[in-house]
Symmetry: C2
Amino acid sequence: MGYKIYPVDLLEKFCLEAFTKIGFSQEESQTITDVLLLSDKYGIESHGMQRLVRYHKGIEKGLIKIDAKPEVVFETPISAVIDAHAAMGQLVGKQAMELAIEKAKKSGVGMVSVRNSNHYGIAGYYAKMACDQGLIGFSATNSEAIMVPTYGRLAMIGSNPIAMAAPAKPYPFFFDASTTVVTRGKLEIYNKMGKPLPEGWALNKDGKDSTDAPDVLKNIVAKNGGGIMPLGGSSEISGSHKGYGYGMICEFFCSILSQGLTSNYVNQGGQSGTCHSFVAINPNCFGNPDDIEKHFSKFLQELRDSPKAEGQPRIYTHGEKEVAAVADRLAHGVPVNENTVKEMIEFAKFVGIDYKEYFGDFVAENSNMFSGNY
Amino acid sequence: MGYKIYPVDLLEKFCLEAFTKIGFSQEESQTITDVLLLSDKYGIESHGMQRLVRYHKGIEKGLIKIDAKPEVVFETPISAVIDAHAAMGQLVGKQAMELAIEKAKKSGVGMVSVRNSNHYGIAGYYAKMACDQGLIGFSATNSEAIMVPTYGRLAMIGSNPIAMAAPAKPYPFFFDASTTVVTRGKLEIYNKMGKPLPEGWALNKDGKDSTDAPDVLKNIVAKNGGGIMPLGGSSEISGSHKGYGYGMICEFFCSILSQGLTSNYVNQGGQSGTCHSFVAINPNCFGNPDDIEKHFSKFLQELRDSPKAEGQPRIYTHGEKEVAAVADRLAHGVPVNENTVKEMIEFAKFVGIDYKEYFGDFVAENSNMFSGNY
């Protein structure tokens, strides 16, 4: 595998030009770019530039409607359901969380479920939006089925991440994780690197453990069976039914409450139909927000200060690695897999921008060409 | 190990007599008994009769105040904080969920956090209360620290279960799981059986994997280090940080929002200080509740009908096993570990009731006497 390092600014300029060129407004392009870049800045490679190919293909195939106007189809003072009408996920995502935040500020809580959307990037971006305004933020999304339920052999549930962010010092609590052991993006990265998967991640088409990334990904695309295990693995002894349960909680808030497509129907028949959930809670529902933040910060510090396992230098609290990653990426640039750069060049050609301005005469140092459409 | 089978009615009568004898009213005793028996009826052995010894010891040591009057110390139309004043967990738990349900019926959502309480039984009991009234129910509780954070060696977080229940046909969705791989109750059962723990469950005092139940439990009690792994094990490769994250979400809703004791302070210095969370959401915040229930029931059926892994006869949805367990326990009685029966007899002696009326001249068939105070 080979990686190239690019400055954050350059990637931002590239995304902005690509998304405006394809038909999004300046403001819309900025939103989409912000979500993607936050992922790369946070060190979540699987959901940053690595995801561009999906948006490229989604727009090309008509799954993503550039000029869609998301519509509030049900509303109460503390909740809403939005039909995205196949809009770009990041755009309806931001709009939905803004609505949840507005309701939380006025009524204490805001819960917004969205149906008929597309891939929206990292769930944590939206949770962070609420946190940046002093609220407790949650977001979750379903996705094309990839999680095999405990004792099954067909993927029926998405990677179904749940994210939460809450104010704390010296940095906010920020948790963003799929309810599978890993995301499909991680499998794609192993596939691009040509490396076998760690054990305990994936299942083959018969529902048996597999470390063969290309085979697992191929079977997922072809709906042959197999996929990724729920957090907790494939057996109840290790808690498989728990990861499966968290995946269901995500599914409930996204596709059930919005009456949209459940993961097993997402990305089929020429539509995406992805569903999301956004919740903002005002801490003033429970007391003085400053006192609550202080109490939380104390506990987070106690966790970081607690005794380490033999051979482990530190204990992290959620959000700490992201803070370090942002500082690193801003100072030293973002490492981008060469195969991802190739996809970005394809995207540039598709929308008609001069990729050489960004990537020069790009030549991959590694010939392990990625050729799947995952 | 040996198990004795007792009819549900007999166990109910025993608990009712024991709890009224110790000073609770008839109604209070019924509530406590209902929570404990639901656990045994659901097949969750770790939180039914097996837990009686804890209440016995808690009352004996003064951690549980029989005549405590829980107090609402903060309230909004959609939320409240209750100080339990060291009340029995089941009693303040039921009161708090009733308040959340009342708010959800009136305002769409009710969120109640409780501090300064005691062990409250299974979280699912309270989630089910909301579900029984057509609402979406959540409950969570912190506990004495037992989860070792990723890369740590000291337990800092409780088993921190999160439960959710939501209406569906032919039976409701019911999810109730600790955010650790397993609960302390499971370790206690292995300890009572004299069996080694499965790998991937527990850590010794240095933060290394251990299958030695007595050693792990002893170290937990003595705060020597070690404990149970988060769901996802002890490494980030298998998702340890995710289980740790869910444990933190539980902690946030319980001890942070109520400004009570975090798990690392629970059950120390002559007080319990356990904190809980109760959330009820009215599905009419999102549309027609019948339509939502129908949509959910369809997906649950699709999951059960989906292809099985090689060698697996069926896929369960959450709550299905519990329905089967209730039917079985009502028809055939509840299997109770002999060591648990001994504890029940101790409890009977402590409160001064005639245990022979319930258990006759009980003689354990197995001499592996349980002697810890876990």
